[in-house]
C-alpha cells in the first residue's frame, strides 16, 4: 500500500523529475537499439550486395588431364577456355587472346557475366575492347589464328562487355599475388558447339564449371564467408585433386566481413561514449532534488519506515523510470527500422543504467542533516585530488604513440578468423575519461581560484552584483562543474561524430574522384573536346592521354596531361604529390616538355635523382627519353600501384599514335554527373566508355561505403544533438529549479528581475562558453585520434580532417536556443510572486 501511495505521489507531485530521468534512460536505450538495428541491417545489406555483385559464385577448374566426376552444388554450367594467336579482319589484326565456349543458356544462368552492347547473343561474341581494336560490328567476319592450325572464320553476332573479366580470367588456385595483372585484351566467346571443333584438345584448353550457389546465407558477412569457404573446401576435398575452386563469392564476402567488423567497431567507438553520456545525464537528473528527497525520506523514517520499506520504494521508482524510459527509447529506435533482437538487449542495458543512476539516490535514506546541506563543500572530488585526469590523458597519449601501426582489424588472407586489436580501444577510451575529468577540474579551478575572473565576466550582466553572483556560482561549483562537464562532453561527442563522418565522406569522394577522374569521364571515343563541351551541363573538358609504357621490364600506365589547365579541371590535390603541391608538380612538368613524374617505388627501384634520364618503351617498341622531375602517388583514373605522368604534347610528338588514347575528364556546371553522363552516352553511342562520379562512388566504395554511412550518421548526429539539448538545458533548468527559494528570497530583499537575471544569465553563459570552448577542444582532439585509430575505414587515408561547418553551425545555433530557453524559463519562474514560491516550497 505504501509503495502504491509513494508511486502515486511521485507521479502526481514529481512528474517532471520522473519524466526527465525516464528521458535519460530513453536516450541510453535508444542509441544502442538504433545503432544495433542499423548494424544488423547494414551487415545484411553488405552480405546481399556482396553476393549480388558476384556474377559467378565459383569457377571450378578441372586439373590438366583430370576429369571432374563430383556433382556440382547449386546450378552449374560448363565453360571451355582456349587461346588463339590473334584475330583479324581484312585491314586490322590483334594480338593473342582467349576463346571461351559457353552453353546456350549461360547468360540466362549468369546474367552478370556479359552485357550485350550491340547485336544479339545467339552466335559468336566479341569483347568490346576486341571489337574496338578490329573495328568489328555485328555481322563482321573475323579470322581466328590458331597455333599450328589453319585460320578459322567466325561471323560476329554481338558485342559484349565483360564487367567481371578479372574474375573470369583468374588463374584458379593461384594466390592473389600470382594472378594476372589484367584480363586479356582480346576475347572471343563462342557457343560450346562452335568452340569444340576449333579449340578442343588444344594444349591450353581448360574446362571450368561455373557454379551459382543457393544464396540463403547468414546475414553476417563473416558467418556467410565461413559457410561459403567451408563449402568450397569441402568440394575440393570431394573432388580429390581433380579440380580446384575459384571462390569468387568467398572473395567478395572476405572484403565485406572486414567492413562489417569495421562497422561493428564504429558502433563501439561512436556508440559507447553516447551511452556513457546518457548515463551521466540520467545520474545528474536523479541526483537533482536531493534536498527535497532527503526531507521526504527523513519524514518517512520519522514515521517508522524500515530499510525494507525504503528498498521497496526505491525499487518501485527505479522500475517505473526504467519501464517508461525503455518504452520511449525503443519507440525512438523503432523510427530507424525494426528493432529485432536489439530490443531486449537495449532494454537490459537500460535496466542496468537505471539501476546505476536512479536506484542509489532513491535507496539512500536521507536525513534532515543532508537536507540542510544544499551547498557543496570546497573539497575537490577524490579523483581530481589524485590527478587521475592528467594520468588518464597521459596514459592515452602514450598508448596512442606506442601503437604506430593502428591496424585495428587484421584479416589474414585465406583464414576464416578475423582478429581485432582491442588495445586500440584503450587510447580513445582513456582520452574520453581523461578529458571528462580534466574539464571538470578546469571548471572547478575557474570557480575556485578563478572566481575573480567569473566576477569580472559577470560584471556586464550583473553590474554591482558581480562578486555576489560569482560567489553564488562558486558555492555551487560541484553541480555547475558537473553540468558544464556533461554539456562539454556532449558537444565533444557531436563534434567527434560529425568530424569523423565528414572526413569519411571527404575520403569517399576523394576515392571516387581518383577512380573516376572527374565528374564524368569519357573513354574510347573519337569525339573532340569541342563536341563534348557542347553537351548541356558540361562546364569544362580536360583531355588526358592514357597508354602504357615499359620502365625496364615493368609495364606501367602512362598519363599525358595538359599542364595549363589540369590542376583545376582534374581536381588534383596536394596529397597526390608527396613532398610537393599539385601546382608545384604540374609546374615542373610545364617547365620542361620531357619532364616525367614517377611513383616512389620506381624512384627507389631505379635510384632516380631529379633530372635523371629515363627511357620509356612504348608497347610498339618506340623508345622515348624523359627526365625525372618528381614523385606522384595518386592520379585521377590511375591504378594504386606504379604509373607515370608526362606532358600530353610531348607524348603526342614523341610517339604519335602509339602512346595511348585520349580520356576526357569532364566537370559539370552543377548538373548531376549521372544526368550529364547519360546525355553524353546518348550522343556518343554504346561504344564510348562513359562513367560518372555518383555511380563510381557506389561501385568502387567498400561494402561499408556501399551501405552508406549516412544512416549511421543520421542516428549518431540526431542522437548527439538531442544529447546536447538535454545536457546543456537540463542541468541548468534543474539547477535553477533547485534554487527557486534563493531567487524568491532575493526578490523579497528587493531584487528586480534584471538583477535576478544576472544570476541566471551568468550561469547560462558559463555553461555555454565552457561547453563550447572545452567541448570543441576535446572533440577536436578525440576526432583526430579516432580518425587515426580507425584509419582502416578510410580509403585513401586522410591527411587532414574535414570540418563539418554546417553541422557545427547547427550545433551552435541549437545550443544558443537551448541555453536561451533555459535562461528564459528560469527567469519566468523567478518572476513568480516570491511569497507564492516560498509558500509552495
Amino acid at each position: 500500500m505504501l509503495t502504491w501511495l509513494w508511486l502515486r505521489g511521485l507521479l502526481t507531485r514529481r512528474p517532471t523529475r520522473l519524466a526527465l530521468a525516464a528521458m535519460g534512460i530513453a536516450l541510453a536505450v535508444a542509441l544502442p537499439a538504433a545503432l544495433g538495428t542499423f548494424l544488423a541491417s547494414a551487415k545484411a545489406t553488405m552480405t546481399a550486395r556482396s553476393t549480388g555483385r558476384v556474377a559467378v559464385d565459383w569457377q571450378v577448374e578441372a586439373q590438366p588431364g583430370a576429369t571432374i566426376t563430383t556433382p556440382m552444388p547449386g546450378t552449374s554450367r560448363t565453360v571451355e577456355f582456349g587461346t588463339f594467336d590473334g584475330l583479324s579482319v581484312p585491314s586490322m589484326d590483334t594480338g593473342p587472346g582467349r576463346a571461351l565456349g559457353v552453353t546456350a543458356d549461360y547468360t540466362r544462368v549468369f546474367p552478370g557475366q556479359m552485357r550485350l552492347l550491340a547485336g544479339d547473343m545467339t552466335g559468336a561474341l566479341l569483347a568490346q575492347q576486341t571489337a574496338a581494336n578490329l573495328h568489328a560490328q555485328p555481322g563482321t567476319t573475323v579470322s581466328v589464328h590458331r597455333r599450328g592450325q589453319p585460320d578459322a572464320p567466325v561471323k560476329v553476332s554481338g558485342i559484349v562487355e565483360l564487367p567481371q573479366a578479372d574474375a573470369l580470367f583468374q588463374r584458379v588456385g593461384a594466390p592473389a599475388g600470382a594472378q594476372p595483372q589484367a584480363p586479356p585484351d582480346n576475347v572471343l566467346i563462342l557457343p560450346a558447339a562452335r568452340w569444340r571443333p576449333l579449340f578442343a584438345g588444344g594444349p591450353t584448353a581448360r574446362t571450368q564449371y561455373h557454379v551459382r550457389l543457393d544464396h540463403h546465407l547468414p546475414s553476417d558477412p563473416a558467418a556467410a564467408y565461413v559457410k561459403v569457404t567451408g563449402a568450397a573446401r569441402n568440394l575440393e576435398a570431394r573432388m580429390a585433386g581433380t579440380g580446384l575452386v575459384g571462390d569468387n563469392l568467398g572473395a567478395a564476402l572476405d572484403a565485406a566481413r572486414q567492413d562489417a567488423l569495421y562497422s561493428q567497431l564504429l558502433f563501439v567507438f561512436l556508440g559507447v561514449p553516447g551511452v556513457v553520456l546518457a548515463v551521466l545525464l540520467t545520474a545528474s537528473v536523479a541526483r537533482s532534488g536531493a534536498v527535497r528527497r532527503a526531507a521526504e525520506q527523513a519524514l518517512l523514517r520519522a514515521r517508522g519506515a524500515t530499510p525494507a520499506a525504503f528498498l521497496r520504494l526505491a525499487l518501485a521508482e527505479t522500475l517505473l523510470v526504467w519501464a517508461v524510459g525503455t518504452i520511449a527509447g525503443l519507440g525512438l529506435a523503432a523510427l530507424t527500422g525494426p528493432i529485432g533482437t536489439w530490443g531486449p538487449v537495449s532494454a537490459a542495458l537500460g535496466l542496468m543504467v537505471t539501476g546505476v543512476t536512479v536506484l542509489p539516490p532513491a535507496l539512500r535514506p536521507g536525513s534532515v542533516v543532508t537536507g540542510r546541506a544544499p551547498v557543496g563543500t570546497d573539497r575537490r572530488p577524490v579523483v581530481l585530488r589524485y590527478w587521475l585526469d592528467l594520468v588518464l590523458v597521459a596514459a592515452s597519449l602514450i598508448l596512442f604513440s606506442l601503437d604506430t601501426g593502428h591496424q585495428l582489424v587484421l584479416v589474414p588472407e585465406g583464414l576464416t578468423q578475423i582478429s581485432v586489436d582491442y588495445w586500440a580501444f584503450a587510447a580513445p577510451a582513456l582520452l574520453w575519461a581523461g578529458f571528462g575529468l580534466l574539464i571538470w577540474r578546469l571548471v572547478l579551478l575557474l570557480l575556485g581560484p578563478g572566481r575573480r575572473l567569473v566576477a569580472r565576466l559577470a560584471a556586464p550582466l550583473a553590474s554591482g552584483l558581480g562578486g555576489t553572483v560569482a560567489a553564488s556560482i562558486a558555492r555551487q561549483a560541484r553541480p555547475v562543474g558537473r553540468g558544464v562537464t556533461t554539456a562539454a562532453l556532449a558537444v565533444a561527442f557531436v563534434l567527434t561524430t560529425a568530424t569523423f563522418n565528414a572526413t569519411y565522406q571527404q575520403q569517399a569522394d576523394v576515392d571516387a574522384v581518383l577512380t573516376n577522374g572527374a565528374d564524368v569521364t569519357v573513354t574510347r571515343t573519337n569525339a573532340s573536346e569541342h563536341q563534348l563541351s557542347a553537351v548541356p551541363g558540361v562546364s569544362a573538358v580536360e583531355p588526358l592521354q592514357h597508354g602504357f609504357a615499359y620502365v625496364g621490364s615493368d609495364l606501367q600506365d602512362l598519363y599525358g596531361l595538359r599542364a595549363g589547365t589540369v590542376v583545376s579541371a582534374a581536381r588534383l590535390q596536394d596529397a597526390y604529390f608527396p613532398g610537393d603541391t599539385a601546382t608545384g608538380a604540374v609546374a615542373k612538368l610545364a617547365a620542361r616538355p620531357d619532364a616525367l613524374l614517377v611513383s616512389q617505388e620506381t624512384v627507389t627501384d631505379f635510384q632516380l635523382k631529379p633530372g635523371d634520364l629515363v627511357r620509356l618503351r612504348s608497347q610498339d617498341g618506340h623508345i622515348v627519353p624523359f627526365h625525372y622531375a618528381g614523385i606522384v602517388a595518386e592520379f585521377p583514373t590511375a591504378p594504386r600501384d606504379s604509373f607515370l605522368v608526362a606532358n600530353a604534347s610531348y607524348l603526342a610528338k614523341a610517339c604519335p599514335g602509339s602512346c595511348g588514347s585520349t580520356t576526357f575528364l569532364i566537370s559539370t556546371d552543377g548538373t548531376a554527373p549521372h544526368v550529364v553522363a547519360s546525355r553524353i552516352r546518348a550522343r556518343l553511342g554504346p561504344d564510348a566508355g562513359v562513367s560518372d562520379l555518383e555511380t563510381t562512388r557506389r561501385v568502387v566504395g567498400s561494402s561499408l561505403t556501399a551501405v552508406d554511412l549516412s544512416g549511421l550518421s543520421a542516428i549518431e548526429l540526431g542522437y548527439g544533438l538531442a544529447l546536447v539539448v538535454a545536457a546543456t538545458g537540463l542541468p541548468l533548468v534543474l539547477g535553477f529549479a533547485e534554487r527557486r527559494r534563493t531567487f524568491a528570497l532575493a526578490r523579497v530583499l528587493g531584487a528586480r528581475p534584471r538583477q535576478l537575471g544576472a544570476f541566471i544569465w551568468t550561469e547560462v553563459a558559463l555553461v555555454g562558453i565552457g561547453a563550447a570552448v572545452l567541448g570543441t577542444a576535446a572533440g577536436w582532439a578525440l576526432a583526430r585520434m579516432l580518425v587515426v585509430v580507425l584509419n582502416g575505414v578510410f580509403d585513401p587515408p586522410p591527411d587532414h580532417l574535414a570540418v563539418p561547418w554546417g553541422h557545427l553551425a547547427t550545433l551552435a545555433g541549437l545550443c544558443l536556443v537551448v541555453l536561451t530557453a533555459a535562461g528564459v524559463i528560469a527567469l519566468r519562474a523567478a518572476r513568480r510572486p516570491p511569497l507564492t514560491v516560498l509558500r509552495d516550497l
Binding site: R372, A373, P374, V375, G464, L465, G467, T468, A471, S472, I473, R475, Q476, R739, R741, T742, L745, A746, V748, L749, G750, A751, R752, Q755, P833, P834, L835, L838
Partner: protein, 213 residues
C-alpha cells in the same frame, strides 16, 4: 508621520466559492518608532497582514499606504522570516550585504556596512560562515543584521523566534527592538509566544482575519 496605514484592507486567496479570505476589514496605522507585537492563533492572518504591510503582497480590497516611506516600500522595509531566510550559496557577510548591493550601494561600502551590522548583533566572527554552518539562533541574528544594515524605516518580523529556545528568542527580539530604536523604525513582530509579546510596548490581536488594536 505614520509609516504605514491600512484602510479596510482585505486579502482573499482563490476565486469564487473556493476563495479563502485570509484577512478582512483591517484598518490600522503604524507610526515611526512604534514597536508592535502581533499575536493570534495559527491561521488567524498574521503572516498575510505582515506581507501586506511589507509591500510583498497586494490587498484584494482596501488600500495600504506608506506615507513615511515616500509611498514606496521597496528597499525601506526589513523583513525577518519565520524559517531560514538566508540565501544558501552566500556566506553571512554576503547575505547581509546583498540588499545593499541590490539597492545600488558600491560593493566596498556594502561590505563595510555588512561587517558593522554583524558586529553590532555580536556575530562578526561568523562573517564567512555559510548558512548551513550556522545554528538557528545565529542564522536569525544574521537575518537581523541584514535588516540593520539596510537601515529600514519599517521592520517586519514573522515569528522570528519560532525555532529558538527561550533565552535565544528573548535575545533576538531585544536585538530587533534595539535596532528599531536606533533606526527610529517601526517594528512589527508576529508571535505566538505571550512572553515575547510582553517585551513589546504595543500589542495587536488577530482573530479570524480581523485585527483588534
Amino acid at each position: 508621520m505614520s509609516v504605514a496605514t491600512c484602510e479596510d484592507v482585505a486579502r482573499a486567496y482563490g476565486r469564487g466559492h473556493r476563495a479563502v479570505v485570509a484577512v478582512h476589514g483591517i484598518s490600522c496605522t503604524l507610526g515611526a518608532g512604534d514597536q508592535v507585537a502581533l499575536t493570534g492563533p495559527s491561521g488567524s492572518g498574521k503572516t498575510t497582514l505582515l506581507h501586506l504591510l511589507a509591500g510583498l503582497d497586494l490587498p484584494t480590497t482596501g488600500t495600504i499606504t506608506w506615507p513615511g516611506l515616500g509611498g514606496e516600500p521597496r528597499g525601506q522595509v526589513g523583513v525577518v522570516f519565520q524559517g531560514p531566510s538566508l540565501l544558501p550559496p552566500l556566506d553571512a557577510a554576503e547575505n547581509v550585504s546583498l540588499p545593499l548591493l541590490i539597492a545600488g550601494h558600491p560593493a566596498e561600502d556594502a561590505r563595510t556596512r555588512a561587517m558593522a551590522a554583524l558586529d553590532a548583533v555580536g556575530i562578526g566572527d561568523l562573517a564567512t560562515k555559510l548558512p548551513q554552518e550556522l545554528s538557528g539562533g545565529q542564522a536569525q541574528r544574521v537575518a537581523v543584521a541584514r535588516v540593520l544594515a539596510g537601515s529600514p524605516r519599517l521592520i517586519i518580523a514573522d515569528e522570528p523566534t519560532a525555532q529558538l529556545d527561550a533565552p535565544q528568542a528573548t535575545r533576538v527580539v531585544e536585538l530587533l527592538m534595539t535596532v528599531a530604536e536606533e533606526l527610529r523604525a517601526a517594528l512589527v513582530v508576529a508571535t505566538h509566544d505571550t512572553r515575547i509579546a510582553r517585551l513589546l510596548p504595543l500589542r495587536w490581536q488577530m482573530r479570524d482575519g480581523a485585527l483588534t488594536c
